[in-house]
Symmetry: C2
Subunit: 347 residues, 2 copies
């Protein structure tokens, strides 16, 4: 019998030689992997930069996510941050640290997930560099780059009273998928279960993927509307961000950065939920990780791409904290963090 090839037995150089050919090339790449650094063409004279880490435990579970899922989600979540500036993603660099006994096949599938995520969501974007290390904790760090194509970046701080509040992409879908995954684990109902008690169940998760494929995929391999970031900028969006921590907390961030409040329509918000569930309004407001785009537009704007109106920008009340639902302050939760009791920083 042949022993599986691992990161530890093959070593960094040989593993990289196996992975590089699978990675997508960036249209803007002038010099790719293999030297001390890559060189990327930036004709605009400015480059958009965002970085994010995914840690095994707080951010994903190997019993739930395939390595292909992990590559896809690492790409998707960073591409969404670039899109939220009104930019077009051009390149990624990807650092991965994994236990020495990680099989090369795992790393190849991860690379395929990066490739397929880029191809589906941002076709000209590719991987121009990376790093591979050994760690007891599987860790993925992606830095993503974008091109503003001569436009001003769309920040969080430009919303003005009277603007339309709009969203592109699903709401609550990733949180619904996560809820199903937690529920598939026998002891998930024990609210104060310790970490060990909450170990995910791979067999139950596999069955769940067959029963609820779209909801589980929304959590494990999301499809954020990347092209709508540029579309929003072209349509005159006054502010925008990526919904990573949930509509409620991210709306509040945009509102407070702009010095305004967002008044959301509960009915319009709930229409963003693509499944049947009794508690969809809560999921849409508090559920994180959809990586949909929240933007504000001047009144009268013909909303571009997949954007639909979900509320309006109003004056910030003296005692307001930036978010209302149907005119009433929304104080239910300060944010979304399913792992809060587990790690304290959902990141």
């Amino acid at each position: 019998m042949t022993l599986p090839e691992t990161l530890g037995t093959l070593g960094e150089s040989q593993v990289l030689a196996r992975i590089f050919p699978r990675l997508p090339a960036a249209a803007r790449e002038l010099l790719g992997p293999g030297d001390d650094a890559a060189v990327l063409s930036v004709p605009d004279g400015r480059v958009v930069i965002t970085t994010d880490m995914m840690i095994h435990g707080p951010d994903f579970r190997l019993a739930w996510s395939t390595p292909h899922d992990l590559g896809w989600k690492a790409a998707a979540s960073n591409l969404a941050d670039v899109a939220a500036m009104g930019a077009v993603p051009t390149a990624l660099v990807v650092a991965l640290a994994a236990p020495a006994d990680t099989e090369v096949a795992f790393l190849e599938a991860f690379a395929d997930g990066l490739r397929d995520g880029c191809a589906a969501l941002a076709p000209d974007c590719g991987v121009v560099g990376g790093d591979l290390s050994v760690s007891a904790t599987l860790t993925i760090a992606v830095t993503a780059f974008g091109d503003l194509e001569g436009r001003a970046p769309v920040t969080r701080s430009g919303a003005r009273p009277g603007d339309i509040v709009a969203v592109s992409g699903v709401l609550g879908a990733a949180a619904f998928g996560l809820e199903l995954l937690f529920a598939s684990t026998a002891d998930a109902s024990t609210a104060d279960a310790s970490t060990a008690d909450r170990e995910p169940d791979a067999t139950a998760a596999a069955a769940l993927k067959l029963e609820h494929p779209a909801a589980v995929a929304a959590q494990l391999a999301p499809h954020p509307p990347i092209a709508d970031g540029k579309a929003a900028a072209l349509a005159g969006a006054t502010a925008m961000l990526d919904l990573s921590d949930g509509l409620a907390i991210d709306s509040r961030r945009l509102a407070l950065a702009s010095g305004v409040a967002l008044d959301l329509s509960a009915a319009a918000v709930a229409q963003g939920f693509p499944f049947d569930a009794p508690h969809d309004a809560r999921l849409c407001l508090d559920g994180g990780e959809d990586h949909s785009l929240l933007a504000t537009f001047p009144a009268g704007t013909n909303l571009p791409g997949g954007f639909r109106a979900i509320g309006s920008v109003v004056d910030l009340a003296d005692d307001g904290d930036g978010i209302l639902v149907d005119g009433t302050p929304y104080l239910a939760r300060s944010g979304w963090d399913p792992y809060a009791g587990w790690d304290g920083v959902a990141g």
Copy 2:
């Protein structure tokens, strides 16, 4: 008594609010931390990009490195990769993942190390963004950016027979410091000791820092000659790289990328070692992590900055592997990896 503030008790947002003011600003920053992404000015129309992870265990030990050392070294090692392309470092993004009980004071000292490292080595370079997560394994991921100022990048592949081989910066110093640190740990002499047996000894390390401050600093907080990267490019360097894995293995990489061999002078190499030690020639050839710059220049070049000649570029023999010392193939080791038995990938 007041309990110490930690990453877990304060949470990501409050910790970031404490760290941001300590970080150095980048002269080229158009939009800094606080939005979905940063925006960096890149007047050259190209941006140099490199990324690297540092993992607790394989890459550093908390018993040896202060948090200030870690910030300094994370900056220095990435700045050296940018410099090795002939570019001037302009910005960093820094992702850090740490256990929830990590004290905020640790993270503040880490930020101070980033600031002081940038100020000393690349004054216009600053931190334009980052990410903070919880992980059982302390992990630092830095992506660094550089400006070619209209010049072609200096890659590894341009060395030609007849070129001068030159180095700027110390050789073997970081490895000597590491050797002293390992020796300060009582059981380091047990070659096949398990991980637990090889735990570093903080008290012994502190004493060592007083006894051999320069050697320990070379390992824990190196001073690579960042400005000499640009100087080499201006002087017409035909190839260059950052010495991270040791002169022998990195010379071989440059040689094979260029299709040539490097013939090094043992005496000239040994002059790069700034301390007294009986085995300095081995340390200079095989010791890693100096982050000095190795470059090749056309014959007759007036070597710039701190560069000094250590050999010449020759034809690659049919059976050659790219490196000779005083005309004899150097086959002692394929590279440098003090942790090889521990993690298999020194990264």
